[in-house]
């Protein structure tokens, strides 16, 4: 059994009009299959990347693995526990939540603009009751800030005082605060500039090594994924069409869709 097991994961969305409108206009229900029977495993300490274009269902999978969206069918088993297991007691549920954290796409929307950085990073520590003493909490927050390349001075500032890259670092520090084992990175660098993107990707790599983190890395950018992943899954309209190591995927792509994607990626060396 792998560390994370995604088994026959399926999610439907009901996009139909309200029943009263349907009754009047005679429309049928419209059901969108966002994720269709997806299977994959992630080993501890590895990075599994999901790549796909818009509408491929990659963010939907991320939310289901994070336990904030209920699958229509199938399951996500993390270290033999399931978020949607009705038998899961409160302590195990909290433990599972603590273990799984997320880094988001937008450096602007992912931090509460009314909160100071110190409180943002301290919130998971308080919520999971990791450290009771306020002084020790403060020390821990400073430690987290330093781990992501920020400093004690930043503790009393608000998010708007930081650049996009720095905010993404704060987001990472918040994710690390609960001492997680899994971090789901949903397009963590797609709104950053190239030079800042490199800094954040390198930071994620260092943290993975230091804390033996497991990543589920979501991106539309094959070049970014090629530098991050141990295994790559290619998604097309909710279906996992190909799964391979970077070496196999980029050198010997099997599926036509993967080949098309690879051909479309602008490459620096083409010139």
């Amino acid at each position: 059994m792998s560390f994370i097991n995604v088994d026959q994961l399926t999610r439907l969305f009901d996009l139909s009009e309200p029943w009263i409108v349907r009754a009047i206009t005679g429309q049928k229900k419209r059901i969108l299959t966002a994720v269709d029977c997806v299977n994959f495993q992630i080993e501890k300490g590895e990075t599994y990347a999901l790549v796909g274009e818009s509408g491929s269902g990659k963010s939907t999978i991320a939310k289901m693995v994070a336990g904030i969206l209920v699958p229509t069918s199938g399951s996500v088993i993390i270290d033999s526990k399931d978020f949607n297991d009705a038998k899961l007691d409160k302590t195990s549920m909290n433990a599972l939540r603590r273990k799984t954290q997320m880094v988001f796409q937008s450096p602007y929307a992912s931090l509460n603009p009314r909160w100071k950085i110190g409180s943002i990073i301290n919130e998971p520590i308080k919520a999971f009751g990791l450290i009771e003493n306020e002084n020790s909490q403060h020390i821990r927050v400073i430690e987290l800030l330093e781990q992501v390349g920020l400093s004690e001075r930043d503790i009393g500032k608000y998010p708007h005082e930081f650049s996009g890259g720095q905010r993404q670092r704060i987001s990472i520090a918040r994710a690390l605060a609960s001492e997680p084992e899994i971090i789901i990175c949903d397009e963590p660098t797609s709104s950053l500039d190239v030079s800042v993107q490199a800094q954040v990707l390198n930071l994620l790599k260092d943290l993975q090594k230091n804390f033996s983190l497991t990543y589920l890395f979501i991106s539309h950018d094959l070049a970014v994924i090629s530098t991050m992943a141990n295994n790559i899954g290619v998604l097309k309209e909710g279906v996992l069409v190909e799964e391979a190591t970077p070496k196999d995927l980029f050198c010997k792509p099997q599926h036509d869709y993967t080949k098309m994607l690879l051909a479309a990626v602008p490459n620096l060396q083409n010139n």
């Binding site: 274009e53 818009s54 650049s163 996009g164 890259g165 720095q166 500039d193 190239v194 030079s195 800042v196 993107q197 490199a198 800094q199 990707l201 390198n202 790599k205 539309h220 950018d221 094959l222 070049a223 970014v224 090629s226 530098t227 991050m228 141990n230 970077p246 070496k247 980029f250 050198c251 098309m260 994607l261 690879l262 051909a263 479309a264 990626v265 602008p266 490459n267 620096l268 060396q269 083409n270 010139n271």
Partner: protein, 319 residues
């Protein structure tokens, strides 16, 4: 080389807020030649979109052009932007919905644009509109469709058709593919390249994506903090960068390369300065590993018509 189509000379765009004036584009000089694709690349806040707006005469208060000239065919467009903007220069934005009227069919919008610029009948304009659509790869039969019935990539094609309608000499494309998927992006870039060759239109392609620059442009100008740091043939600039910033930018761009799987990327420390707080001398010096004393005090001029870096002052010295 030919006469340049567009000449930008010592262009400065400033921002006046309260009692402080900050410089968003600082003494920028560029030439653009007929049927050439020039890339303007830089990170957010580097002044690349601002340069595009200046060419179009779209600079509005609190921003203003504080120095310099922009000439198209030898005529200044700073003084007479309205007249030239419409017929000689077109614009393509990142979000196609900005340029399309959702309440009108694409045919109506095309005909209106064509009739504004050419004195022809409605039937002729319609005919011309259909030709434009097939030029950009849209079935001319769909001329009576509304913008919302098209997908994102198709909408961007419609926008390009609209941009081509006045038969412009210059198209400014500001991040035209940033909102699109990679597969669609490749199609749009190919379309732009083809149009440039077939119609002889020059294109200024504004983007943050080094890959897009590499695949599409003939020449590239790299901007940093509102200043031109390097300009030259695209392949030359990307493969043998002369400015440390260009070199860092190229090195930190992730690339699919079997030798670099799992390897750490090169990273430039720090971030681009805020325009209110640009350091003295070379704006890049606090992030530059080659910085020397002169870099901290004096702005480097453009050496060898290539890069603004004091390293190039001594001949033979390279990165």
């Amino acid at each position: 080389m030919d006469e340049p189509l567009l000449e930008i000379k010592d262009l400065s765009v400033s921002l006046k807020k309260r009692n402080t004036i900050s410089v968003a584009v600082d003494c920028l000089s560029l030439n653009l030649y007929p049927s050439e694709i020039l890339g303007l690349v830089g990170e957010s806040g580097a002044g690349k979109s601002m340069t595009g707006s200046a060419i179009l005469g779209l600079i509005e208060s609190p921003l203003y052009i504080s120095a310099g000239t922009i000439t198209l065919h030898g005529q200044s467009i700073v003084e007479a932007p309205e007249h030239i903007r419409g017929s000689k220069i077109s614009m393509i934005f990142q979000d196609p919905l900005v340029s399309l009227n959702p309440l009108k069919t694409i045919g109506e919008q095309l005909v209106k644009t064509i009739k504004t610029h050419f004195n022809i009948s409605k039937a002729e304009a319609l005919e011309r509109g259909k030709r434009l659509l097939s030029d950009v790869g849209i079935d001319p039969e769909r001329i009576d469709a509304y913008p919302h019935t098209f997908s994102g990539g198709m909408r961007q094609r419609v926008v390009i058709a609209l941009a081509l309608a006045p038969d412009p000499d210059l198209i400014i494309a500001d991040e035209p593919t940033t909102a699109l998927d990679v597969s669609v992006q490749a199609q749009i870039l190919n379309l732009l390249k083809r149009l440039c060759i077939e119609r002889g239109t020059s294109i200024i392609l504004i983007t943050h994506d080094m890959g897009v620059i590499s695949e599409t442009t003939d020449r590239v100008a790299v901007l940093y903090s509102g200043r031109l740091v390097e300009i030259g043939e695209t392949s030359d600039v990307l493969q043998h960068p002369k400015h440390p910033y260009t070199a860092g930018l190229v090195a930190s761009t992730p690339n699919i390369d079997p030798h670099s799987f799992h390897k750490k990327l090169f990273q430039i420390p720090g971030t681009m300065p805020d325009i209110n707080d640009v350091p003295n001398g070379c704006a890049f010096h606090p992030r530059c590993e080659h910085a020397s004393n002169i870099c901290q005090t004096q702005k480097p001029p453009l050496f060898n018509a290539r890069a603004s870096c004091w390293l190039l002052e001594t001949p033979g010295e390279t990165l």
